[in-house]
Symmetry: C2
Subunit: 154 residues, 2 copies
């Protein structure tokens, strides 16, 4: 079976994009990974409408990517905070990969907007495609792509 004959409904890239494949959703995840937790903070920082933000947060909650926790400011009523779940944090490599491309191709002097560093050594943080058997970083030419056991014909 060739790639063109494979039914893409089951493609994991497509399924991931069905959940998070929308610009505001990625930006909510970016902000959540950077410690933003409250509805009004997301709204102001992203410059997104309340309606769009509510819809996107709802979808992320329903997908188990965000969870809520309650908080209460003195004298105010109880409100919700939004936090990444484990499933949500597992999207972190996607964010780092998007960032890396942007830093390379859409970067501005005088340098990165957000400085990511390995806490222990201060080294820069990067994303790499690699061999799970420990043979280091791989480029597209070193990888074979064939329809797998889950591939169905269109």
């Amino acid at each position: 079976m060739e790639w063109l004959d494979v039914d893409t409904e089951l493609c994991p890239v497509q399924r991931t994009l069905d959940v998070v494949g929308e610009k505001w959703t990625f930006l909510i995840l970016r902000d959540a990974a950077n410690g933003v937790r409250r509805f009004d903070e997301f709204r102001r920082h992203l410059g997104v409408s309340e309606a769009v933000l509510s819809t996107r947060l709802r979808k992320l909650l329903d997908s188990g990517i965000l969870r809520t926790e309650t908080y209460q400011e003195p004298g105010a009523r109880t409100r919700l905070e939004y936090r990444l779940t484990r499933k949500g944090w597992d999207l972190w490599p996607v964010l780092i990969a998007l960032r890396q491309w942007g830093d390379t191709y859409a970067g501005e002097e005088p340098g990165p907007v957000l400085d990511l560093r390995h806490k222990d050594c201060g080294g820069e943080v990067r994303v790499a495609v690699e061999c799970a058997d420990g043979h280091g970083e791989l480029g597209p030419r070193e990888v074979s792509a064939r329809p797998g056991p889950g591939a169905r014909a269109r």
Copy 2:
């Protein structure tokens, strides 16, 4: 400066999403990385309208992510093929990261739709966030994130 005070217009994640942050665009890139090159092949495989596909391809060409090459079938007029540029292939880690999450959280029995393997050893292919100074794979807790030299206040 806190993250909430940073002007996100210059954020590399945001800038990358300005170019590719749309589901059809990602799927075009996925298909291009899997060897799809011709307009009609993209259209049929993705199930996308001609109008949407044309717009997305135009944007990817204008951004230097795809380039065209001419081809000619016997007896037919000259047509265009679409191929990833180096800049386009540098989005490959984003695709692998999306795929990895989908395989983990939206996978189906009996296994992956597309089987990616290190050609040399047959090992599985994965994406990892790592320290550029060689200290191996990093998780979010091992990384510090601070506004960088390019950060501007909102």
